[in-house]
């Protein structure tokens, strides 16, 4: 039987490119809305990573919450906060905190990558056999970790009320 299985290496490389390039464009694009679209594409890339990591429910959740709700909120805010002049007059690269930020970001990323790469064989290279399914998430959420669930509900109500109060127009 002819099998056309795409090896996971190719999809990993493609997803890495999509995610990282999307994140870079999101921060560097001139127009904020192009940045928001690139951010949405980057989120879809991360959802693809979740699918590769045998967490399909998380991938769907990532798409529906991040791209479906957070990006919509961001788009609304961008449209309500329009300014006449250009978006970025001069970024803070010349100031001390700007250049320190670039050094910090670069060195941190390289340091973490170096540590991880040097760990070598102590980190697993083969995916272990997994018999986790989607239906294992339910009992884990409600029976094993019920307190974070209730705290999350309270947090949701608090943030809902907070956003409502903040965005109310003063008369």
């Amino acid at each position: 039987m002819v099998s056309l299985v795409i090896p996971s290496d190719i999809s990993f490389v493609v997803l890495t490119a999509v995610t990282i390039i999307g994140a870079i464009i999101a921060l560097q694009a001139k127009e904020l809305i192009y940045g928001a679209v690139a951010l949405a594409i980057s989120f879809i890339g991360v959802a693809g990573f979740f699918t590769l990591l045998d967490a399909p429910y998380l991938a769907m959740l990532q798409i529906s919450i991040y791209v479906g709700a957070v990006v919509v909120l961001i788009l609304f805010t961008i449209m309500l906060v329009r300014r006449e002049q250009g978006e970025e007059t001069n970024p803070r690269t010349d100031t001390p905190e700007g250049s320190m930020g670039i050094w910090l970001a670069g060195l941190l990323a390289i340091a973490i990558s170096g540590v991880v790469a040097l760990a070598g064989t102590s980190l697993p290279t083969e995916t272990p056999a997994s018999n986790l399914t989607v239906s294992d998430l339910g009992p884990a959420l409600t029976l094993q970790y019920p307190v974070p669930l209730i705290v999350l509900a309270l947090l949701l109500s608090a943030s809902l009320l907070g956003a409502l109060v903040l965005a109310k127009v003063e008369r």
Partner: protein
């Protein structure tokens, strides 16, 4: 003998024939894949015009050719392809051209998980229902971006209205499917249909069916939830500035979404492909889906447009409460054992 990679032309032909007749290729390209989707979407445009015409005591498309004007969508397509695509002044060209294509793609992708028969499903994933949810939740943001990219006030107003409406009605839509998931015990769409072998889920989850039906009419922006496309006010809503091939793509995307929502209703509530055995399973599925699509199209010729405050009130309060009530009712029904004779 099929050899990969092929070395002689005979082996190449054998490989091609083997691929074309494989089940995967048939499901992706022919049924329920590209060809079937395109044909059904084209048929639905004709069907809607004929149905609305009969409701409004006229005849509808008649002269384009074929019996009863069946080639009318073909004539429409050819006309739209040859029309000039006008991009508005200072509109953002990549977004303006790219998003209608994304709309069609996004309406077509959830069909990969919808089962048309016991083995007629392209991808039998364990989270099928949540996959459809994720894909439909991408629509409001794309419509908003397209409306913004049109750089004109009618589309922008229409896009904001459409975003509000779709975001509000997404919640009762997916809360009402929770009753179905409880009854079936799985998020997999094939399992949900298999659990309806003895009794369709419309019987124990009738209120959920009602809520879902109303919510998808609002999702599809059909009358009476026609506010984003209010013709006397907004010309054509968020796709005012689209013309030619762009409009054709958006049109196809909208009708594909109609077909998608109708087939969702069939899968979740009307027993999918189960029916007496004298017709094959996919035929039963398509018959049920077309009946649901008929009932979605009919209110367009009958009801007036709903007001925006009534829209929000119905979406946030009434439908959500009915859906939640039905979830509780389902839990009571399951635990009381009344549904045991039907295998739940």
């Amino acid at each position: 003998m099929v050899v990969f990679p092929p070395t002689t032309p005979a082996e190449l032909i054998a490989l091609i024939i083997r691929i074309i007749t494989s089940h995967t290729f048939i499901t992706i390209v022919i049924f329920p894949g590209f060809i079937h989707l395109t044909l059904v979407v084209i048929f639905l445009t004709w069907y809607e015009r004929k149905l609305l015409a009969r409701i409004q005591l006229r005849i509808g498309p008649l002269y384009a050719g074929g019996p009863g004007g069946l080639l009318q969508p073909l004539a429409d397509g050819v006309k739209l392809i040859f029309k000039e695509v006008m991009v508005p002044y200072k509109a953002s060209k990549p977004l303006f051209m790219g998003i209608p294509l994304m709309l069609v793609v996004l309406s077509a992708v959830p069909f990969a998980v919808i089962p048309f028969g016991q083995h007629w499903v392209i991808a039998n994933i364990d989270v099928g229902l949540v996959f459809v949810f994720a894909m439909t939740s991408l629509f409001p943001s794309m419509i908003l971006i397209f409306a913004w990219a049109s750089n004109s006030k009618y589309p922008f107003l229409g896009g904001v209205r459409s975003l509000f409406q779709q975001v509000v009605y997404e919640i009762p839509m997916w809360m009402s499917t929770l009753s179905v998931v409880l009854l079936a015990g799985s998020l997999n769409l094939v399992d949900i249909v298999n659990a309806q072998e003895k009794m369709w889920f419309i019987v124990p989850a009738f209120f959920s069916f009602a809520v879902f039906f109303i919510a998808i009419m609002a999702e599809l922006e059909r009358l009476p939830f026609d506010l984003p496309e209010a013709e006397p006010e907004l010309v054509a809503g968020w796709y005012t500035e689209s013309s030619g091939a762009i409009f054709m793509l958006i049109f196809m995307g909208l009708y594909m979404k109609l077909y998608l929502m109708s087939s969702l209703v069939t899968v979740l509530f009307l027993g999918g492909w189960w029916g007496p055995a004298f017709l094959p399973q996919p035929v039963w599925f398509i018959i049920k889906t077309l009946i649901v699509a008929t009932f979605i199209i009919i209110p367009r010729g009958v009801y007036p447009r709903i007001r925006v405050d009534m829209l929000i009130k119905i979406g946030w309060t009434r439908l959500l409460i009915i859906a939640l009530g039905n979830i509780f009712l389902t839990i009571i029904l399951i635990n009381s054992g009344l549904l045991a004779s039907w295998g739940i």
